[in-house]
């Protein structure tokens, strides 16, 4: 897989997040502060602007730049979390000669570890980690079963969607939704939703 595939991913994700901005903000209104859609859209539009102006030699440079862009443009909880994800994802690809299913798996793991290091969420806290964690597991299982990147990402995205849906009944223990206590139950986590969109986009574009 070359740089182009990752450029496609970021552009595709930007499009999907833009289309879903109002939806993500709607979800964030119920248990947060009504900015998740605007945050993700602002960040990924900034990435698109970078892509429009620069061409990248390597996937790791591209993805690190994407991460730094998110850190610099988003703010809020999602900025450092997704920013760290892409920074570490990119760093994990540095020096990798052939980006295959295994390399992408390592990068995903590195990225999600970054999310954990920053956010210190645990499974069931009703955060984006509730989408990332099952996605990683599904990805690993698929690769272990012989899948290539594309199908493995499809499995990951499907697992993320299940994880996202499973956030609905949870009482939040991290992030802004935790302030609501019991009242956070019954609502889908916005971050788990954007994570799923980003993984679905990956499944479409990275193959």
């Amino acid at each position: 897989m070359g740089v182009d595939a990752f450029v496609n991913w970021l552009r595709d994700a930007a499009g999907v997040l833009h289309e879903n901005a109002a939806y993500l903000t709607e979800l964030d209104s119920a248990i947060g502060d009504a900015d998740h859609g605007a945050n993700m859209d602002r960040g990924f539009q900034a990435i698109v602007a970078v892509l429009d102006g620069t061409s990248f030699e390597s996937a790791d440079e591209l993805l690190k730049k994407a991460g730094m862009t998110l850190v610099s443009k988003v703010g809020g909880a999602s900025g450092p979390l997704y920013g760290t994800f892409f920074l570490r994802f990119g760093t994990a690809l540095a020096g990798v000669s052939s980006i295959n299913a295994e390399a992408v798996g390592k990068a995903l793991h590195a990225g999600v570890e970054g999310v954990l290091a920053r956010g210190k969420a645990e499974l069931g806290d009703k955060t984006m980690y509730d989408a990332w964690a099952p996605a990683l597991e599904a990805y690993d299982a698929a690769v272990a079963g012989g899948s290539e990147v594309g199908p493995a990402l499809t499995a990951a995205a499907e697992a993320a969607a299940k994880g996202r849906d499973a956030t609905v009944p949870l009482v939040a223990r991290k992030g802004r939704a935790s302030y609501l206590g019991e009242r956070s139950a019954g609502h889908q986590d916005p971050g788990a939703t954007s994570t799923t969109l980003i993984l679905e986009s990956a499944a479409r574009t990275l193959a």
Binding site: V74, G75, A77, G181
Partner: protein
């Protein structure tokens, strides 16, 4: 959405331009980085005080920049914490060799972005940075197992008091300790009569019937802990004061700064009426009001509602509270 704005995407930068235009005597605004500076920063020998957070809480924080309070404030998008680049730039700009204190409200986003900035600033220029996180909101329960309590009204009082200490030349460790002491001695609780509308969202964050209120809200238009039937001011005051008083706990004979804050859309006549109730409750509890503050200081856009903050004070804190301050949002003795 009924607001005095142009494009929703331009609200923060245009409001900052307005601040710059309105206060050229005291402020310098870096519009590119969205940083409000005290005009004469950095002040040689003085610990630099920086705060910041999402916009929509005006006058906090930009309106608290000036003599005796902050050296710089970083403005994020509405209800979205600023990014590390801003805090780094501000940190470098206000560092005069005495180090910099970051005043951070306890929200996941704010904490993470300030953390990244502190790491980068320390690595980069060798600036000594300390951070204090405010978390005074007693509405948040089970805070040990969650993101913890929100930083709300105490932040205003802290910026004033710690600002006075920095102004008189206290060194960074002492200023940081003072900040933690202020935070430890302050508690708040808030409620909303209405929601507010994030400009980019275009509609109210939540809907509230004419006979309902939200109790235990923060400052980001988020729903509160409980939706209750609308109540008279007297009962609302008790709902806000009781959990605050019992949490520290404040005790008979304690002296406090009593702060009745409006959420942005509540007029002063109602805040004074609320203060009347709060003062009576404190009187009955044997708590002495050393100083008071009544007004819209830490807001949620146009939300109607209020919060009550009590800060337990000793003579030293009162002295620092009384020290001169000259900012757009808070001014006396100068």
């Amino acid at each position: 959405m009924k607001k005095l704005i142009n494009d929703p995407g331009d609200v923060v930068s245009e409001a900052l331009q307005g601040m710059a235009a309105a206060h050229p005597d005291r402020l310098r605004v870096d519009l590119e980085n969205r940083i409000v500076y005290r005009k004469d920063a950095p002040r040689p020998g003085k610990v630099g005080l920086i705060s910041g957070g999402g916009s929509g809480h005006e006058p906090m924080h930009g309106g608290f920049v000036g003599l005796g309070m902050l050296d710089a404030a970083c403005a994020g998008e509405v209800f979205t914490s600023p990014v590390p680049d801003q805090m780094m730039a501000a940190t470098k700009a206000v560092d005069a060799g005495a180090g910099v204190l970051h005043i951070v409200k306890n929200y996941t986003g704010d904490v993470m972005n300030f953390e990244m900035a502190a790491e980068l600033a320390a690595a980069d220029a060798g600036t000594e940075v300390q951070s204090v996180v405010t978390n005074d909101d007693v509405a948040v329960q089970d805070s040990l197992y969650t993101a913890g309590r929100r930083g709300v009204g105490v932040t205003v009082l802290l910026e004033k008091i710690v600002g006075a200490a920095a102004e008189e030349g206290q060194p960074l460790p002492q200023v940081a300790d003072l900040a933690r002491r202020v935070n430890d001695n302050g508690r708040s609780m808030g409620m909303a009569l209405t929601s507010c509308t994030v400009p980019a969202a275009g509609k109210p964050t939540f809907d509230l019937a004419d006979n309902e209120m939200e109790v235990g809200i923060g400052i980001h238009g988020e729903p509160g802990r409980q939706r209750l039937p609308l109540a008279p001011a007297r009962e609302i005051a008790a709902m806000l004061v009781d959990p605050v008083v019992t949490d520290l706990p404040y005790q008979q004979g304690d002296s406090v700064i009593a702060f009745v804050n409006g959420m942005g859309g509540t007029p002063l006549i109602e805040l004074y009426l609320m203060y009347n109730e709060v003062a009576q409750l404190l009187d009955r509890a044997g708590i002495t009001v050393a100083r008071s503050l009544v007004g819209n200081y830490i807001t949620s856009l146009e939300m109607a509602g209020c919060s009550v903050t009590l800060l337990k004070v000793d003579d030293e804190l009162v002295r620092l509270w009384d020290a001169p301050v000259n900012t757009p949002g808070l001014r006396w003795g100068a």
